[in-house]
């Protein structure tokens, strides 16, 4: 399901125009950008949690050149699936097509 189809489905279910839904979606992305940038977790009940995690810097060896590299620290955005969705997925048919 791509973005367009998702927007259309949500718009149809809400009885609003796709433009409105687009705007709301952009607002959601904006909230995630600012709040996760401040290292806050965003919790969506029944779906999961968006949680930024700090990864420490580390020394890595480039396998092709054999050179050692210092990889800088970074903050990666992770997602933790809620228990409810997890148990539902367990019994679903799953990603055979993806």
């Amino acid at each position: 399901m791509d973005n367009k189809k998702l927007v259309e489905t949500v718009a149809a279910n809400m009885g609003r125009s796709t433009e409105d839904v687009d705007k709301l979606l952009e607002a959601l992305a904006g909230v995630l950008r600012t709040r996760c940038g401040e290292l806050d977790c965003v919790y969506v009940p029944g779906f999961g949690t968006f949680e930024p995690k700090k990864r420490n810097e580390r020394v890595m060896i480039n396998p092709s050149t054999g050179k050692r590299m210092l990889v800088p620290p970074k903050i990666a955005l992770g997602f933790k699936v809620s228990r409810i969705l997890k148990s539902k997925l367990k019994s679903s048919k799953g990603g055979a097509d993806s």
Partner: protein, 414 residues
């Protein structure tokens, strides 16, 4: 920082960002994530612009060892969700560290050197951290904190050269990349005295402030200016990211409870009109009598036809089946109550209203399983059938019945 944003807060933030009613945002989020979950359950992957891609990946059944007992167990196949953040979102989240690049270490830097640096930066720094915090407390300038980040960026890589302040002073705005490039050179003197840090900070603050400002100009994201210093703070002293000190703690967002009536009044565009079916049901009581009379007449007719027997029996039989179907429908209709789910009325409130306890929502759900996919997220406007209390043995005053409902609801929501 490091807080958890609940659904209510998220709705509030969104309604502020879009200046639309909280109710609309609430509904939107429910719909959005409901749709995404449903798609995932169907095995589809979902891409949301500006957020990322959710994919469902099947995991084969595999053996695993129980760490406590050492016994190997078989873990059955299951599906897991992977999330890849959108590039824009990932960059925005990583913004505090965006300035750093991977550095190739010189051969002369040995593991021992790195270990030594780690040890040195680990030992004295907790004290330093507090000092730094204290000295900076009064001046909450984004530039100052940025300077710290720049200062400390060097520490994990290699000790600070002694001549750093001099090096920095003449240049109006030394770029951070220059600093980083300097770092791994082996001839650098190990471990600049830590005590010079506070001094250096004040010196480096000015030039780097400009860099910080420049950076901010470059990136035209709607990121609030203070996000950068706050997030880069933990790195400064190599503390874990959930460090204790929150300097620029964002002022707590007041969670307004929009209890105002007009907020809950759905907008006309958004209003769920009762469906034709519902309307028909509302009218049903008037018609019921008519049906009953008709049915009685029909039954009388059939009896009369049967009494007469003969050629018309076939037609009579047909009519009878029709009539029977009608009476069945009627029988079901008579003791069925329906109600409509709205944004304020959900299964539990209905259960409370009809049975006296919210726990009995499970039975309403079971009665309407075919229309309700997710009991946690029933679309407003859905008409649900309220089963008669006797059908499931519902009795508020009976503890066993209540317990049963509770157990059932835990099972459903597990």
């Amino acid at each position: 920082m490091n807080g958890k944003i609940t659904f209510v807060e998220l709705v509030d933030l969104m309604s502020k960002a879009t200046s639309s009613a909280p109710l609309v945002c609430d509904l939107f989020l429910r719909e959005l994530f409901g749709t995404v979950s449903q798609a995932l359950i169907n095995g589809e992957s979902v891409k949301i612009k500006g957020v990322g891609t959710f994919k469902i990946v099947p995991v084969k059944s595999h053996k695993a060892m129980n760490v406590a007992t050492g016994k190997s167990t078989e873990i059955g196949a299951y599906n897991k969700v992977t999330f890849t953040p959108d590039k824009s979102l990932a960059d925005a989240v990583n913004q505090p560290f965006a300035q750093f690049e991977t550095v190739i270490l010189d051969d002369a830097v040995t593991d021992d050197d790195l270990a030594k640096i780690d040890k040195e930066s680990a030992a004295p720094e907790p004290v330093m951290a507090h000092e730094a915090d204290r000295t900076e407390e009064p001046a909450i300038q984004p530039g100052a904190a940025m300077a710290d980040a720049a200062d400390d960026a060097d520490i994990p890589a290699a000790p600070l050269p002694d001549d750093l302040p001099e090096m920095l002073e003449p240049a109006p705005a030394p770029s951070l990349d220059d600093l980083i490039e300097e770092v791994p050179m082996p001839e650098m003197e190990p471990a600049a005295p830590r005590e010079t840090h506070p001094v250096k900070k004040s010196e480096t603050a000015a030039p780097t402030k400009e860099t910080a400002a420049e950076e901010k100009h470059d990136e035209k994201r709607p990121q609030p200016a203070m996000a950068t210093p706050v997030a880069s703070k933990p790195m400064l002293v190599g503390r874990p990211i959930d460090g204790p000190k929150v300097k620029h703690a964002p002022e707590p967002e007041p969670i307004e409870e929009h209890v105002d009536d007009h907020f809950y009044r759905p907008e006309p565009r958004n209003a769920y009109k009762p469906t034709a079916e519902q309307l028909a049901r509302q009218k049903a009581p008037d018609r019921r009598w008519l049906w009953a009379v008709l049915a009685a007449l029909a039954v009388g007719l059939i009896v009369w036809l049967f009494a007469r027997g003969g050629g018309s029996s076939e037609a009579g039989a047909n009519e009878e089946t029709v009539v029977q179907a009608d009476t069945v429908v009627e029988a079901v209709d008579q003791d069925v109550t329906t109600d409509t789910i709205t944004s304020k009325v959900v299964l539990t409130t209905l259960a409370e209203k009809y049975y006296g306890s919210q726990w009995f929502w499970v039975y309403i759900y079971e009665e309407n399983k075919d229309i309700i996919t997710d009991p946690n997220n029933v679309r407003p406007g859905t008409a649900v059938v309220i089963p008669p209390a006797e059908k499931y043995g519902i009795d508020v005053n009976d503890r066993a019945s209540l317990k049963k409902a509770q157990r059932r609801s835990w099972e459903l929501l597990r």
